[in-house]
Amino acid sequence: MLTPRVYKEIPQRYRLEANKCKKCGRVNFPPRLVCPNCGSQEFEDYRLPTTGKILTYTVVRTPPVDFKLQKPIVLAIVELEDGTRIMCQVTDLPPYVENYDEIIKIGAPVELVFRKIFSEGEAGIHVYGYKCRLI
């Protein structure tokens, strides 16, 4: 069972569903009702590409309670190959890393993958979504 907060975001988190402005071509992730670029309200369905590069990143050493078991967590802003930007965790890293700057570089190519994000609340409901890994 999933909580409403989680299941309403499934199209974005499981399938990377975005929308694209019919007027100016801007891609919005998550999908929007008003284009922030041109103000148009007409969109077509669009799915994000799954490869891109790291624009910036950080290693969060003191994450919120739900992420305590995973710490430290590495997060990045990724620019996908169509220019759309998303934030996501960087996954599939070695279990212990002395200096993250040596393995993660700004500009490094990545691909999006499907992963568990965390287990929510006392009931521990698993919530899933996208992360990226270095390629």
């Binding site: 922030p36 990143y57 050493r61 003191t62 994450p63 919120p64 802003i77 965790q89 994000i117």
Partner: protein, 386 residues
């Protein structure tokens, strides 16, 4: 529109105040401001507060604070814009007096952060809940991403950049050591910062503003009326506010706080001044990198030159544009909803010439910049002595 003056200020000591409640903090600051102004009543009041609901399970702050301040029946408004709640509350109070709707308005800001709640999670509510906080990102993490992008964009070697960031904290603690209301009135060195624990790479504990309880309040009235209460008329010469994308990833340039530039542009225009006309400034140094980016967006330095400016001492108390004379969020403390109002208190202290050991010489015009989230909202106010 009428000209508006700040005629009274008051704040609590900032700190880890386990024995003081949300309402006690607000009322203490408000009473000090009312006494300082010498007014016998207020026409309306504003309460800036970010997230008393998450921290203390208390909303409905307008009514609560008016009740406990002994202001039954006075209209009261709670204003929220994350960490810019205080600055935005001040702007709304200013607008109410300027419009002629009310003559004497109290603007307070408050945050009670030591309550047992997970403060990192409470503060994360200021980010995009589904596309940022959901991923485990924290505010130190968001600003750390800005820092890494800045270092990359301006091609600064890591060691030099690390020291530049540290120097912001060293300077603000130097100023804060002269502020009796500061949470951490202690001097520190670059070594203190670079040897402190990592929070979100490259930011360390001493790059981050602390978790703070505290409140601040001011009294506003028309300039014409202010003459009845004081000889030193401090006018609100300019007010600007702006918003930008809630999510950092959607920002055109991650290293440039467009929201600050836009709010500043509006405040400068209203005041009829340029960045060069500002004598000193209180800015939103929630993290060391934030002060650097803010001073660039305010137009004090060119984009990419803010870090060098700190290194060169340009923002020190005796520098060309003293920044965060109060100790800033870093040393004075950052009770998020109170910060914007506390910045105004510091401006008034400096303009009155009552800032003691941290007094800026010939301070005639000051600027206060308050910011919410990772740069999604901001206010800029310019105060000057008439």
């Amino acid at each position: 529109m009428r000209d508006v003056a700040v005629i009274g200020i008051g704040m609590t000591k900032f700190g880890e105040l386990w024995n003081k409640s949300l309402r006690e903090l607000f009322v203490e600051a408000a009473l000090k401001a009312i006494k300082d102004a010498g007014v016998d009543h207020i026409d309306s009041m504003y309460v800036g507060c970010m997230t008393s609901g998450l921290f203390a399970q208390q909303e409905h702050l307008g009514a609560l604070m008016a009740d406990y301040l002994g202001q039954k029946h006075v209209p009261a408004y709670r204003v929220e814009s994350a960490c810019a709640s205080g600055g935005l509350a001040f702007r709304l109070g200013f607008i109410e007096v300027a419009s002629g709707m009310s003559d004497i308005v109290l603007v307070g800001g408050v945050e009670k952060m030591h309550t047992g709640a997970d403060s990192t999670a409470c503060l994360a509510a200021a980010a995009d809940a589904e596309y940022e906080s959901f991923l485990g990102i924290t505010f130190p993490g968001l600003y750390a991403m800005i820092a890494n992008a800045y270092k990359e964009k301006y091609n600064i070697p890591f060691d030099r950049f690390r020291k530049q960031l540290a120097l912001v904290a060293v300077k603000n603690h130097e100023n804060g050591s002269k502020n009796p209301n500061a949470q951490f009135p202690i001097k520190i060195t670059v070594d203190t910062v670079v040897n402190s624990t990592l929070v979100a790479d490259p930011l360390r504990l001493f790059d981050c503003s602390p978790v703070t309880d505290g409140a601040a309040a001011v009294i506003l009235c028309p300039v014409e009326l202010a003459k009845k209460y004081t000889d030193t008329i401090i006018k609100v010469a300019g007010s600007g506010a702006a918003t930008s994308t809630i999510a950092l990833a959607q920002r055109d340039d991650i290293t440039y706080l467009d929201v600050v530039a836009k709010a500043a542009e509006r405040a400068y225009k209203m005041a009829g001044v340029t960045p060069k006309d500002i004598d000193f400034a209180e800015v939103h140094d929630c993290f060391t990198i934030a002060e650097i980016c803010v001073t660039e967006a305010l137009g004090f330095f060119e984009p990419g030159k803010g870090a060098e400016a700190v290194e060169a001492g340009k923002t020190a108390l005796d520098g060309e544009i003293p920044v965060n004379t109060s100790g800033g969020l870093k040393a004075k403390g950052h009770p998020v909803g109170a910060t914007g109002v506390a910045q105004i208190c510091e401006l008034v202290e400096q303009l009155r010439g009552t800032a003691g050991d941290r007094q800026v010489k010939n301070a005639k015009r000051g600027l206060a910049q308050n910011m919410g989230g990772s740069g999604a909202s901001s206010t800029v106010h310019i105060l000057e002595v008439l």
